[in-house]
């Protein structure tokens, strides 16, 4: 688990604000942001433009985690999904505010800023995005 403070701090922009980027050559959107576009490679160098993602998307697939890592043990069972965002990229995140038996592939979801995990009961708390069903 990425527990080191600098390692977490470096990703704050992306994890707190869902900042991705867009290839200036083919318009493909990436999250997390990439140094170059895998489709355009050298054509995209210097043309990767920062954008904020809407945080809206739909569930492509999901699982219910029953055996979790130490930092997540208190949360089991909890759902994790791959979400396809409106802008194109797919990302992995927990689903909240949804009954487990109501989860389904194709469900529309939106991102929320939440606590993700904690280093023990007194340790650092790490934040980021989770997704909840769109009303």
């Amino acid at each position: 688990m990425p527990k080191d403070v600098p390692r977490f701090w470096r990703e704050i922009q992306q994890r707190y604000n869902m900042k991705g980027n867009k290839c200036g050559s083919c318009d493909r959107v990436y999250f997390p942001p990439r140094e170059s576009c895998p489709y355009c490679r050298r054509e995209s160098m210097g043309k990767m433009e920062k954008i904020k993602l809407s945080g809206k998307g739909e569930i492509i697939t999901y699982t219910i985690i029953h055996v979790g890592p130490e930092e997540f043990e208190e949360q089991v069972p909890y759902p994790v999904a791959i979400i396809q965002l409106e802008e194109g990229p797919k990302i992995t995140a927990q689903i909240v505010d949804c009954k487990i038996d109501e989860l389904k592939i194709g469900m529309k979801v939106e991102s929320e800023f939440r606590k993700i995990q904690q280093d023990g009961s007194t340790g650092a708390i790490y934040y980021g995005y989770k997704f909840k069903p769109v009303e």
């Binding site: 688990m1 990425p2 890592p69 909890y78 992995t92 592939i105 993700i116 790490y126």
Partner: protein, 388 residues
């Protein structure tokens, strides 16, 4: 490029081996393979060692040299290199050795694969396996390694109507095969109900959909085909070898239910061997989870995409089927000491092509394929072997 053959194989028992150390396991598998091949220490030009995470599992890095030392070769100063590609580390080591002979640099190479996973507790083992996934963009958000394969399974079920029974049948078949393999971690049958009612791990996967945590080592000796006459080991030729990579994260892939790295590595190996999927007599595929075997037989072209579940139901992949898969018991029943797995697959294929697989021998097996995956599909290696 020169032709290359496997001329020696060695395997330790797979399981929870509390009384054996990393060093003992590696020395046991290595010496068995070397004795089987008939080469002497002075004939060995190089060694390659596959280990995913000796640093986290036993607190020891630098295991290339350690393995050469433990095998008794320190005074011969044999070059020994450790290779890592998560659960595909063993086949990557094999392929590096293969390439070094094919290129003409080396004539005789020893390949070792090892993982000693039970010295740490279960949760530490799980956490270490998760390092094969994307730590920043997958694991951080709470997805586990079984969770990734569970999401592949869920999507496969959604798109192709694959069922939990199809998954369970993979486990039942591989446990059945494992009963005939004295090296396997589990040598007992399981019923489809046992598989279906097992404790959930990451839905839709339960405990019986998952390969176990295993200690074990495997080794093979590779030799330039034009020098096999110099040694007594019974040769099996490597006629095709492919390797491919893909995004580290599952969500980054083109398609959630296809491991494109498997497709590409497979095509590369088939092309070199001038063979089609239907020419393969048996295969050892990477069934770290039951769904992984279903995806593998599709991605390697044995059945069409989406028909993997049906193929298992129709018993195509059983030991008496038209394409026996995982005669060794696979990762599910034989066990999955991650760095050793790719090498152990080559050991099984070699035994089959030599006609030495005892009760699980496939009649007239001539061509076998081994398929080894790292992570959720970011690395894949496929090797095709032919009996001589």
């Amino acid at each position: 490029m020169r032709d290359v053959a496997v001329i020696g194989i060695g395997l330790t028992k797979f399981g929870e081996l509390w009384d054996q150390s990393f060093r003992q396991l590696t020395a046991e598998a290595g010496s068995k393979a070397i004795l089987d091949s008939g080469v002497g220490g002075k004939d060995i030009d190089a060694m390659y060692v596959g280990s995913m995470s000796s640093g986290r599992f036993v607190g020891q890095e630098h295991v290339g040299a350690l393995v050469a030392d433990a095998s008794g070769f320190s005074h011969l100063h044999i070059p020994s290199t450790r290779v890592e590609g998560a659960c595909a580390s063993g086949s990557l080591a094999l392929r590096e050795g293969y390439l070094s002979i094919a290129s003409g640099v080396n004539d005789v190479v020893v390949i070792g694969g090892i993982e000693k996973m039970n010295d740490v507790g279960g949760s530490a083992a799980t956490e270490t396996l998760a390092t094969a996934a994307d730590q920043e963009w997958e694991a951080f958000f709470g997805v586990t390694f079984p969770g990734l394969y569970a999401m592949i399974a869920k999507r496969h079920m959604h798109e192709f109507k694959t069922t939990r029974e199809d998954l369970a049948r993979v486990a039942v078949k591989n446990h059945h095969n494992g009963t005939m393999n004295p090296f396997a971690q589990y040598q007992k049958e399981i019923s489809i109900d046992t598989a279906l009612n097992a404790t959930p791990v990451a839905e839709p996967l339960g405990l019986m959909d998952c390969s176990p945590v295993t200690d074990g080592a495997a080794a093979v000796v590779l030799c330039a085909a034009d020098r096999i006459g110099d040694f007594s080991g019974k040769p099996v030729k490597i006629i095709g070898s492919g390797q491919a990579s893909d995004t580290l994260s599952l969500h980054g892939r083109r398609d959630i239910t296809t491991l494109d790295a498997s497709v590409h590595a497979g095509k590369m190996a088939y092309k070199q061997a001038h063979l089609k999927p239907s020419d393969i007599n048996l295969a050892e595929v990477h069934d770290c989870f039951t769904i992984a075997e279903i995806c593998a037989i599709e991605d390697l072209g044995f059945v069409k995409k989406g028909e993997g579940g049906k193929a298992v139901e129709n018993k195509i992949t059983t030991i008496d089927g038209s394409l026996p898969v995982n005669t060794s018991g696979g990762l599910k029943s034989k066990g999955h000491p991650v760095g050793a797995t790719g090498v152990a697959q080559i050991v099984e294929i070699t035994k089959q092509l030599r006609g030495e697989a005892d009760k699980r021998q496939i009649k007239d097996a001539r061509i076998g394929l081994a398929h080894n995956v790292g992570g959720s599909g970011a690395t894949c290696v496929v090797n095709i072997l032919e009996g001589m």
